[in-house]
Amino acid sequence: MSAIVWVHWEALSEDHPVFSAAPDDARRIFGWDADDLARRDWSLKRCVFVLECLEDMGVEIMEGRPSDVLNDLNSSSVFTATSPDPYIRQEITKIEADVSVIKAEPFASVPENVDMKRFFRYWNKAKKTVLLPTENQTYS
């Protein structure tokens, strides 16, 4: 089966580079995991807001744990957006197909060794690039 873009909570936009990285005919799938939502205990208004975003994008919404949904579809390759969310990171490890994890457009360059204990230590490094337009940014 052709490629799939796994759309998750963190990247509800077709502008995300994950869509240009995937083949044009890739299916766009969102796994609606009721157990995960129950664990997060999101209120109705949160569920409505994300469903509005998903319907607006026109992605296919399938009930179930995303890794189960994607594995059942037997796709050869899955494209998805990066996320710091431990649930999403764990799901990525459970996908049997080849997974490409694509970053959002770069926002700021910060050296890896910067002390992140307080914001202004980060900001003193970030401000060298963060005030430049995205076309002048590089990933870090």
């Binding site: 009721a34 209120s43 109705l44 569920c47 994300v50 009930e63 710091p84």
Partner: protein
């Protein structure tokens, strides 16, 4: 636990709901954990159109001047940023294109950078983001704080008018001005002595932009478990930054009234008394002279 279903038995919802009421019913059907008495839906609607509309409101100069005021020029872009409907880079570019020089955009871009900072930390911390980063610096131990939110906070019935209004706004609309979040978090944590984790869960349940990284670490900053001191405020400060729509009268907000020194003694009785502001200024002047 919900049993996994075979692929051909999963519900496909690729098409638009005919109207908002149908979409609300669909969201409820997909989310069996929702209680029947959870009925509030936000006036902020998800989707690209709402994000574009708010991007057009971006006014970095007015934002820099008024963002701390509850009726200031904020954009309500945060739910769209949280879910990646617009990226930080897209907002930054929009901000830069609306000013003559990058320095005029700095305040607003710095606020965007906070999200980038929290996200980077979350990637390193994972689930430990739910643990205290450091000990409380309030003169109290972790066990001195209640595990759960009291009923009167959940019901917006604390008797402190401004806090009740913020809670009501949070629960009914899913959005709260950042400064109001800090006031409410400080009230819960320090005036009511509840663990920050209980407050963080409450915010994540309701805020459309609720994001574990920004939310938990901001709560920890207020609590002092990710800062050098606790964040607290008094009624005078609340009055300075609240618009006319918030009831900040003394009569309806008595627990918040008092000087910072007096509140410090009440809220943190185990700590040394703070140096009064006047004495601090004299000390600074002396230091400058020497």
């Amino acid at each position: 636990m919900t049993q996994p279903r075979p692929a051909n038995d999963r519900v496909h919802l690729g098409q638009d709901s005919p109207d908002r009421q149908a979409l609300i019913e669909r969201a409820r059907h997909l989310s069996p954990h929702l209680s029947p008495d959870d009925t509030h839906v936000s006036p902020i609607r998800g989707g690209r159109e709402g994000a574009d509309e708010r991007l057009s409101w971006v006014d970095p100069i007015a934002y820099g001047r008024t963002r701390n005021h509850l009726d200031g020029a904020v954009t309500q872009l945060s739910p769209f940023i949280r879910h990646g409907v617009v990226s930080l880079a897209q907002v930054r570019d929009r901000v830069l294109s609306s000013v003559g020089s990058a320095s005029q955009a700095e305040k607003m871009i710095q606020q965007l950078a906070w999200r980038d900072y929290w996200q980077r930390l979350y990637a390193e911390m994972g689930e430990t983001i739910w643990e205290d980063c450091e000990a409380y610096k309030t003169g109290f131990q972790r066990d001195d704080y209640a595990d759960e939110l009291p009923e009167d906070i959940l019901n917006a019935d604390t008797g402190v008018a401004a806090m009740d209004m913020f809670i009501h706004e949070l629960v009914t609309t899913g959005w709260l001005h950042n400064h109001a979040r800090l006031y409410l978090a400080s009230y819960i944590c320090h005036f009511r002595r509840v663990k920050w984790q209980a407050g963080a869960r409450f915010f994540l349940k309701h805020l459309l932009d609720g994001d574990v990284a920004s939310n938990n670490l901001s709560w920890q900053w207020v609590a002092s478990t990710f800062a050098n001191k606790p964040y607290y405020f008094n009624l005078e400060n609340l009055q300075k930054f609240s618009g006319s729509h918030v009831d900040t009268s003394y009569h309806n907000n008595k627990p918040l009234a008092g000087t910072y020194e007096a509140l410090h003694l009440t809220l943190f009785p185990n700590l040394d008394p703070p140096v009064p502001q006047a004495a601090q200024q004299t000390k600074q002047k002396k230091r400058r002279r020497s």
